[in-house]
Symmetry: C2
Subunit: 358 residues, 2 copies
């Protein structure tokens, strides 16, 4: 890891572009000249290579310190052919679930000398291919994709090439396409949630799911369906509502809609595939006069910070968000370190957190 000179506050004497000679400004050559050594030596000192005499090293360091010289990473990057940037694609970083994952990514990236390029794919959808082009154009060394839509696009549009690009899928993934991934066992998680509801005596369990175009949504639906079936309950279509957006309002609306079913079919419980949704569900239920959990039990998904703080505190499936991000970053880094190492897919454990809403 390169030395990190802490510099003093003198302003650099650099002007606009350093268009002049090549000797004066802030270049490594200028430093070398002033110290009376070669650029190679300065470079070696800067990069912490061992083969420099202590005295020489000191002189270089002193000049660097005095002049406030900073390496130009643009040049270094071209030379070493790496940007030291990791691209993170997220559908919506206002969502606390993704925010926490992104934190995990950022933290391991930084530890390894990488910075994070953040792209909110929701900001301009349909640019899926464009994001991966950032890799091809060397703007980033690798990518982590948290956006299910983009993951699917990538798998579809680039079947052959996709697995060759240095990226990993996080949360949404297809084990069959050869792209490294990290996520949870969505089927089991949903199964666990519904089984808990059943254990609590609820049988008519509704599912508020996201777009079942996504694999994770399909898996959660299947978990829900099968858990119900194992209790001898048929998973009715009217109990299943799909939303395009996982926010509070969508949850409130969906809950209200569900409550319009004739009394004998009305759900006794609702399983929402995201906590933000579930919070909306709880509110929506309250606004149509239903009590939680007395009238309708609610289970969420993710275990964001807010989940424990709403009234009533939300029972939910916890995902290890931070670890999801950290693992994704580590997988990617491993792949960058050795492009032909086979990087595995990893499933992290989820956990049913029982609070008061169910």
């Amino acid at each position: 890891m390169p030395a990190h000179p802490s510099g003093s506050p003198q302003p650099e004497n650099a002007d606009a572009q350093g268009a002049g000679e090549g000797a004066r400004g802030g270049s490594i050559a200028a430093v070398a000249q002033r110290v009376g050594v070669s650029v190679a030596t300065v470079s070696r000192v800067l990069n912490g290579h061992a083969n420099v005499r202590a005295a020489t090293r000191e002189r270089v360091l002193a000049e660097v310190e005095a002049s406030g010289y900073r390496v130009n990473e643009l040049a270094r990057n071209l030379r070493t052919a790496e940007s030291r940037l990791l691209l993170t694609m997220v559908p919506d970083f206002g969502n606390p679930f993704y925010a926490e994952i992104v934190r995990g990514i950022d933290s391991v990236a930084r530890q390894h000398g990488y910075f994070m390029l953040l792209c909110d794919t929701g900001a301009d959808a349909g640019r899926e291919r464009g994001y991966f082009d950032l890799l091809r154009r060397h703007r980033a060394d690798g990518a982590i994709c948290l956006d299910p839509a983009t993951v699917q696009q990538a798998n579809r549009l680039m079947a052959a090439e996709s697995a060759a690009l240095p990226w990993v899928a996080c949360c949404e993934f297809d084990p069959d396409v050869g792209v490294p991934f990290v996520g949870i066992d969505n089927y089991r998680a949903a199964h666990d949630a519904v089984r808990h509801l059943i254990a609590r005596g609820r049988r008519r369990v509704a599912l508020i799911n996201s777009d079942e175009h996504y694999l994770y949504a399909q898996q959660r639906r299947d978990g829900w369906r099968d858990a119900l079936a194992e209790a001898g309950v048929e998973a009715r279509d009217v109990w299943r509502v799909n939303v395009n957006c996982l926010d509070y309002d969508a949850g409130a609306q969906a809950a209200a809609a569900l409550m319009h079913l004739p009394a004998e079919h009305a759900p006794e419980a609702i399983f929402a595939v995201s906590d933000t949704l579930a919070v909306g569900v709880v509110n929506g239920l309250r606004s149509v006069g239903r009590r939680v959990p007395d009238d309708v039990a609610v289970v969420g998904f993710d275990d964001i910070a807010l989940a424990a703080r709403i009234d009533p505190p939300l029972t939910t499936i916890a995902q290890p968000m931070r670890e999801l991000g950290e693992t994704a970053a580590r997988l990617l880094l491993r792949r960058l370190a050795d492009p032909r190492a086979s990087v595995p897919g990893v499933l992290l454990p989820h956990r049913l957190v029982i609070r008061e809403s169910a």
Copy 2:
């Protein structure tokens, strides 16, 4: 703006590093050779320069398309001496307030061909100087700082140099140091909040403020104090509590503490300087048996999405978060476009949003 070839899915024939000749792989030279023109011509086509014969342009474009060539931005960046990256420093991007501002930044940055380097300063505090070094090392062309601690450090440590670096302050700022900024009038905003409480008949108004080391916190405190004074109420010290962290728990704790005051001094209202805090306050109040707003009125700050959705819906001071971010990015971009243009400080309007908590 460079042309954006939409490419076809053929995998590139590139191998590891392109370590070979210089003619074959994915370089602009390779494309030039295959088409039978010079690299200059290819470059001109790629960058949309007008002075290329249509027929030549077509041939180049066809080859680019066929070969899946992508420009190497590492090289481009060195040559043009710009990274086309904007650094955003945020204390905590899990906080929905910052998340929304960051969205604003991202959106205008993208529109202008820049990407965003995101640094969560909370992740490793004390590195303030290091962040600005990213500018000196040409890792980013400019920076936007949303972190009050970092803004102050920068103003202090780099008094002379600071104003020379291409950065802008957002939300926390000191008009006197010559760094462009965007924010709101915190004094007036706090004043408005407290005046509203007074108009509602509350006189003992508590303030839950963040660290008054920050300018914005000082301004809000002054607004609170003066609004109280104008109503003939002395702003008592026991009504003022400072927290280090603006999250739910801090709010709940502070509220509980405030409710331990002897009945004749107990606040009839609480003004919390952030909605996340205010949500905690409402919960904390409820948990010690106080009703909102009947026993204690609550006003928050920011107007994050959650504010309207809690029970009771939160009265708050709305900040134009999105615009704050967009404006910050625009100011920065203007400064980059013309380094010696004098970029102004701008104050955006806030707004009192009256809901049910006060």
